[in-house]
């Protein structure tokens, strides 16, 4: 069995992640930050430690600026809807996921925000000159994906960050696909808002994501409610992380996420990146030797994470995905991967692509087996 769908959710998870979740349930399964008893405190410490680990991973100095949410999409929505006001101008790239495009299209209709989509080339790569041009019109917010979930292409986040700073806008990065796979430094990259999901490269379970909010950026919370603090008052507390974390957290998932990030920090992001880069390079090189395969996105593995979208000439992507699963025991994702804008950019809308997304736990032999399978499918009538 070969799992090539790590961009949808990573699998398997390190045993440490499962152990941390079991440990929380068995030993400390109380509500963090709600009571003074020792189980509640222990649950609070688990959340606190996970927050500190996430902060360390992204080089965030103050971990109270890391907000846990139910998933990456909620983090993105909090950044967008918490910040934007009527008629604000927003600039995005044409490679964004629907978790960015849908809230923006919604605000376009309801708050009359103005949206500029900077067109990327057929490989999904951004020309900074085009971004600069879009910023000539004063923008409140610029959003860029760190790495495309369709092509795997890496955006020049640091360079965009510098441009955004020069133009005095807020810079939000969607790191759902890159967090845990690429080094991220919010200071060096000039990131004001960093949205992440816990269950992909960060190796945690599903059900937790988050948003880093730079000090000085004021967001309206999307939800108000109990926080365990300021309980005598009926107004939402103004301090972080409580301001944005109403209601009981998904502590068991956060326990797993903390262990996942700890695993990455111990392994070293540099080592994770090298391994994933070697795997994707081998896959792309092998695909190029198979006649009739079109691979999308930047050619050099240096410019992409371990994602590869492709099509087999004359074959329906959905059918290829079916054959890979049923005949060859290879699991991947076909179609539009929730990113129609990206597919329009690379010219694969509406038919979509077959997407192989690799992870830290894949190995070279699986690449060979997948290439053999594609060769055989190509021969099938």
């Amino acid at each position: 069995m070969i799992y090539f769908d790590n961009a949808a959710t990573s699998w398997p998870k390190p045993p440490e992640v499962i152990a941390a979740m079991t440990d929380f349930m068995e030993r400390a399964g109380a509500n963090p930050g709600r009571s003074g008893h020792r189980m509640s405190l222990e649950a609070g410490r688990i959340v606190f430690n996970a927050r500190e680990k996430v902060a360390e991973l992204f080089k965030i100095k103050d971990s109270s600026r890391v907000i846990f949410t139910v998933n990456g999409t909620y983090g993105i929505n909090l950044g967008i809807k918490g910040l934007l006001r009527e008629r604000d101008h927003v600039v995005v790239t044409s490679m964004e996921h629907n978790s960015v495009m849908r809230p923006l299209r919604h605000l376009e209709a309801t708050k009359r925000i103005r949206l500029t989509v900077v067109q990327c080339n057929r490989d999904g790569q951004l020309d900074l000159k085009d971004m600069k041009k879009a910023l000539e019109k004063k923008a409140a917010l610029v959003i860029a994906t760190h790495a495309s979930n369709v092509t795997g292409g890496i955006m020049p986040v640091k360079e965009i960050g510098r441009l955004v700073r020069e133009h005095d806008a807020v810079f939000m990065v969607d790191a759902c696909q890159s967090a845990g796979s690429l080094p991220i430094d919010v200071e060096e990259m000039g990131i004001d808002l960093l949205a992440f999901t816990g269950h992909k490269g960060m190796l945690g379970p599903q059900g937790v994501g988050g948003l880093y909010i730079r000090e000085g950026i004021e967001l309206e919370p999307l939800v108000q409610g109990g926080t365990g603090s300021n309980s005598e008052q009926e107004v939402q507390p103004d301090f972080l992380p409580d301001k944005y974390e109403s209601g009981t957290l998904n502590t068991v998932a956060i326990a797993g996420l903390g262990a996942g990030v700890e695993y990455l920090l111990k392994a070293g992001i540099g080592k994770v990146r090298e391994k994933e880069k070697a795997l994707i390079r081998k896959l792309i090189q092998g695909m190029k030797r198979i006649e009739g395969i079109e691979v999308y996105g930047p050619e050099d593995a240096e410019n992409r994470i371990a994602i590869c979208s492709f099509n087999l000439k004359g074959k329906d992507a959905g059918h290829v995905g079916y054959l890979l699963d049923r005949e060859f025991d290879i699991m991947c994702r076909v179609g539009l991967q929730c990113a129609p804008a990206a597919h329009r950019t690379i010219g694969t809308y509406p038919q979509g692509t077959i997407r192989f997304s690799l992870g830290y736990f894949n190995h070279e032999e699986e690449i060979g087996a997948a290439l053999d399978a594609l060769g055989k499918i190509r021969e099938m009538v």
Partner: protein
């Protein structure tokens, strides 16, 4: 724990800061304990840290240098028990 010497209690607005304080003070080698906020103190967050008042200046320095945000430090009377 603190054998009858004067006890100080530091309170916080949020559990996050209480746990940060616990971490940095333990790393700095202080003897501290996390306790529920005593009834005579009104505080926003349910937990507080107790330590010996003779350490107060040093504790303040450690909290400040780590930018831990505290509510305030209370001096507790030791009632005979």
């Amino acid at each position: 724990m603190m054998k009858g010497e004067a006890r100080c209690i530091v309170t916080f607005f949020t559990v996050h800061q209480a746990l940060r304080a616990e971490k940095v003070l333990m790393e700095a080698g202080f003897t501290i304990s996390m306790i529920p906020v005593p009834r005579e103190i009104s505080s926003d967050c349910g937990v507080a840290l107790a330590f010996a008042c003779e350490d107060e200046a040093k504790v303040k320095t450690v909290l400040d240098s780590n930018t831990v945000k505290i509510e305030c430090i209370h001096h507790m009377e030791r009632k005979g028990k």
